[in-house]
């Protein structure tokens, strides 16, 4: 038998070691932990360790470990009882501005984390939790946007002294009638300048003008509606205090919300139902907000509110200049000087009031008040759910009016981060496009644990049965096959861990199924070796022929299985994707382990025996 190339053996050893290294974190368990983030997303303060220590010490609690870990602070405990107490203590001790969430922290030692090794993440069907798929009603948002123009355009034309003779709404089109073509062309020119988002068409044979939204504008409206809901949902999910929540856009108008370890779907649905709005109001500078806050006596015609950042009291006039439903768009941008700003667009009603107000208030401050109605379901002593609503009111921005403006204006003097978060909050407060839950999957923690146990058992029993069969049937070569199969399992776990792909119940089914398929490669090779030996070929050569001839067959077969898997991954939903991933990884790694792995073993054991007359393969 020819000597086996050294580089193949070395590759095998390296792959085995790397696979073992990256699969290793899965063997360490998890500690109950508390995760802390800042609500604003700012980095945690430098002395945070002491703050946490103090908050825990106040309640006589002792943490097992407390440190920053990838953007959030993780405090570990020995028992989940301590974890619950600590979460309460930390919520109390740290105050507002922080999200305190219950979670689990892997016990993976530092040296493993340092090389990027981490345990597999488990899908919701294994760890328990809630999955929602929400659909934003963009049709509604689109219609509302289109309808705006039937009042906006005539108002604008009146201001421009262009006379129209009629206006009407035709589906999502606004049709304006004019006395003659001259008036129409003038109107067309004027509208095109002020409303670039409209596509204007002059009807043949009449003097009517049709305005429709451009495709780009429709896309912007849809994006705005989805972004708005996304922002609101993120904010609210953060308030829930869940470790590793996922709020993500999916497709053009859907949002996925995944909350691991949450079972109380009622509470989650309450959150989704909350509504927000905003109000532009003048700041009252005559009275003192501090004394009003201290004495509780509020000057007539004003109301007392607090700023979101820093909880500073501010008196606002009662009149609302523009409200959330007037807001058409808000986006973080840069002004002409290149500094961060938020540009805001109002509809014509809001624009008119804004114009009237700013005309007489240049130099004075104006505030944006954010109002949110939050629903909570609490249970009374008898366990009957009580739905309660609570109003949250905060000032999110105060800025001086620098000039007279109406439809479009900018808020400047912000840092880039402030501009971004103000734009998001403004979006959240605009008239919300309704969302609807189109899919819900909740898995209780006991079912999740059951699924893990059953999946693990099935994999173990499957591996045992296959191993038993292979050893009985192929003797020593059966042992090689088992070694290759085990290495393959380690590699699948390692690759899954590195990719961070979530393991699901179908994913486990994929691993189990793939064990049956993976030994096929070895069966092909061994049957070939047997056949060659029946034809009178020497054992050493038979091994070589067996491996060489089977290679292409195995590759061909694997490619076709991969084709099916790729289709499944591309088109399958959620958990089924997990199946496709594990199966695909398994197929790729088995091509390597069955051919290179088991061959190296055969070579190691039989390579030096020159005068073999038979192989222990029968």
């Amino acid at each position: 038998m020819q000597p086996y190339p050294l580089w193949k053996t070395i590759t095998l050893v390296i792959v085995t070691l790397l696979g073992a290294l990256y699969a290793l974190p899965n063997l360490y368990g998890e500690d109950p932990a508390v995760q802390i983030n800042t609500i604003s997303g700012d980095p945690l303060p430098a002395d945070f360790a002491e703050t946490v220590q103090a908050a825990l010490a106040a309640d006589g609690l002792q943490a097992q470990g407390s440190r920053a870990d990838g953007g959030h602070w993780v405090v570990r405990f020995q028992q989940s009882e301590q974890q619950l107490k600590a979460a309460d203590a930390l919520k109390k001790g740290l105050g507002k501005g922080y999200i305190v969430a219950l979670g689990l922290a892997s016990k993976t030692p530092d040296w493993l984390t340092a090389v990027g090794a981490k345990p597999m993440s488990l899908g919701l069907d294994l760890r328990g939790g809630v999955h929602f798929l929400l659909e934003v009603d963009v049709e509604d948002a689109r219609k509302a946007a289109a309808q705006r123009y039937v009042t906006d355009l005539p108002a604008y034309l009146r201001k421009q002294d262009i006379r129209y003779t009629g206006r009407r709404q035709d589906g999502e089109r606004t049709v304006l009638d004019f006395a003659d073509g001259v008036a129409r062309d003038a109107a067309r020119k004027a509208i095109a300048k002020e409303y670039p988002e409209l596509q204007l068409e002059a009807a043949e044979g009449s003097s009517a003008l049709t305005a429709t939204l451009t495709d780009a504008e429709v896309k912007r409206i849809v994006d705005f509606a989805v972004q708005q809901n996304l922002t609101t949902l993120r904010n609210r999910v953060n308030q829930l205090g869940v470790a590793e929540p996922l709020v993500q856009r999916q497709g053009s108008n859907r949002i996925v919300v995944q909350l691991p370890s949450v079972q109380d779907t009622t509470r989650v649905k309450d959150l989704l139902g909350a509504t927000a709005t905003l109000e532009y109001r003048a700041v009252d500078e005559t009275g003192s907000a501090d004394s009003a806050a201290a004495s509780g006596i509020i000057p007539p015609g004003t109301e007392l509110f607090y700023t979101r950042e820093g909880r500073r009291p501010v008196l606002l006039k009662r009149e609302v200049i523009a409200a959330g439903l007037n807001l058409v768009d808000a986006a973080a941008t840069v002004d002409e000087n290149g500094t961060p700003a938020v540009s805001v667009t109002l509809d014509s009603q809001g624009a008119k009031r804004m114009y009237d107000f700013t005309e007489k208030s240049v130099g004075k401050p104006m505030a944006v008040l954010f109002r949110e109605t939050v629903y909570e379901t609490n249970y009374n002593a008898e366990g009957v759910p009580l739905r309660e609503s609570r109003e949250v009111e905060e000032i999110i921005s105060i800025a001086s009016i620098r000039g007279v403006f109406g439809k479009r204006f900018q808020t400047t003097g912000l840092t880039s981060k402030e501009a971004h978060s103000l734009a998001l909050l403004l979006k959240a407060g605009a008239l919300a496009a309704p969302v609807e839950i189109v899919e819900e999957r909740t898995v209780g923690p006991s079912l999740g644990a059951d699924n893990i146990r059953k999946g693990f058992m099935a994999a173990l029993v499957g591996l045992g049965l296959v191993s038993l069969f292979m050893v009985v049937y192929y003797k020593v070569f059966g042992v090689f096959a088992i070694a290759a199969l085990s290495l393959n399992l380690v590699l699948v776990v390692a690759v899954l861990s590195i990719l961070g792909a979530a393991l699901t119940v179908p994913g486990i089914a994929g691993i189990v199924l793939h064990m049956g398929i993976a030994v096929d490669a070895n069966v092909l090779i061994y049957e070939r070796i047997r056949e060659e030996m029946r034809n009178g070929i020497k054992p050493g050569e038979a091994i070589q022929h067996g491996y060489d001839r089977a290679f292409l067959t195995i590759a061909d077969a694997n490619v076709t299985v991969l084709i099916g898997t790729v289709m499944l991954f591309a088109l399958g939903a959620g958990p089924v994707k997990g199946f496709a991933i594990t199966l695909a990884i398994g197929i790729l790694t088995s091509q390597f382990t069955a051919i290179v792995g088991s061959r190296a073993l055969a070579q190691l054991v039989f390579g030096r025996r020159q005068r073999m007359t038979d192989l222990p393969i029968w």
Binding site: G383, E440, K475, A509, D520, V523, T560
Partner: protein, 308 residues
């Protein structure tokens, strides 16, 4: 351990026409079953609400139905799930947009008479999502067929591709017929099972095709029918063993893996058994009926003459 002392010599191709007739007949029966009896679609495809709960002790289904009736759910499907303390409740999709609230109401209704009832899982699928999942699933199947056909045409020849794809469709239809007959629930993981089966079944076909190609090269004087027969016989043992190991792990999955992979593992088990047959009689048989010839597969002679 040996099953045969040498390569078996069974004349498979003698019955190739009978094989194709039998396959056609069973395929038609399966299609009729699926068309007239239908499939037991899970809520992934139909939409609707499914709630699984666990009671601390055995319950009467009528008591659960009474609880639900009190909450105005008149016709829910209520059944045991594995044990007599695990209950599965299904509601058909409703037109109301607020149907997501249904799951909450159901839980409240059950809590009223048994506070310790434990929620195992809730699934709610809106009708539009169900429709999309059906579309995507069918599209995935279709694209897999096309992708595999192209690959085989590229690696072998179109007559083989026709045979291979016919076998895949045959196997998929058989499994659907089986699911219809046994009324096992058809959900998203079942689609995954069928796609995995397509890959697996094709694996079988490829192993035989590969051997046919090799034998056509080495046994130049042999009749094509004999070459095919020899190839099937040479790969027979390997097929039997592979099926055995796959069936072993699938049995483990069926018995130990819990109810959620039940339809997955049973669909695959039937598929694996059918695939053994179809790789011999449908894919290879059809390629032979289509008059596959040595020239179709052996371009080597051409390259030889090119060199001179």
């Amino acid at each position: 351990m040996k099953i045969f002392s040498g390569v078996p010599n069974i004349n498979f191709m003698a019955q190739r026409k009978t094989g194709l007739w039998v396959s056609s007949f069973v395929t038609v029966v399966s299609i009729l079953l699926v068309v007239f009896r239908g499939l037991n679609f899970g809520i992934d495809f139909t939409g609707g609400v499914l709630v699984e709960v666990h009671y601390p002790q055995a319950v009467q289904l009528d008591a659960v139905r009474a609880d639900l009736a009190r909450a105005q759910y008149e016709n829910p499907v209520v059944q045991f799930f594995g044990t007599s303390s695990d209950v599965l409740i299904r509601l058909p999709p409703t037109e109301e947009t607020s149907s997501a609230k249904v799951s909450t109401t159901i839980l409240d209704a059950l809590h009223a008479s048994e506070p310790n009832v434990e929620l195992r899982r809730i699934e709610f699928v809106g009708p539009q999502v169900g429709e999309e999942l059906t579309q995507d699933g069918s599209l995935a199947l279709l694209l897999a067929f096309i992708g595999i056909a192209i690959y085989i045409m590229f690696r072998f020849e179109w007559k083989f591709a026709v045979g291979a794809v016919a076998a895949l469709i045959h196997d998929a239809i058989m499994v659907l017929g089986f699911l219809s007959l046994t009324w096992i629930e058809f959900d998203l993981t079942t689609v995954a099972a069928i796609l995995a089966l397509i890959g697996y079944s094709n694996n079988e076909t490829i192993v035989i095709f590969d051997r046919v190609r090799e034998n056509l090269l080495s046994q130049r004087r042999m009749e094509i029918l004999d070459v095919v027969n020899l190839s099937v016989n040479q790969t027979l043992l390997r097929s039997v063993i592979t099926h055995l190991t796959t069936l072993l792990v699938l049995t483990a999955l069926l018995v130990m893996g819990g109810k959620s992979v039940h339809s997955f593992s049973s669909a695959l088990m039937v598929g694996v058994i059918v695939a053994t047959y179809s790789s011999i009689y449908v894919s290879t048989g059809l390629a032979v009926v289509l008059n596959v010839s040595r020239e179709d597969l052996v371009p080597a002679e051409q390259t030889d003459s090119d060199v001179t």
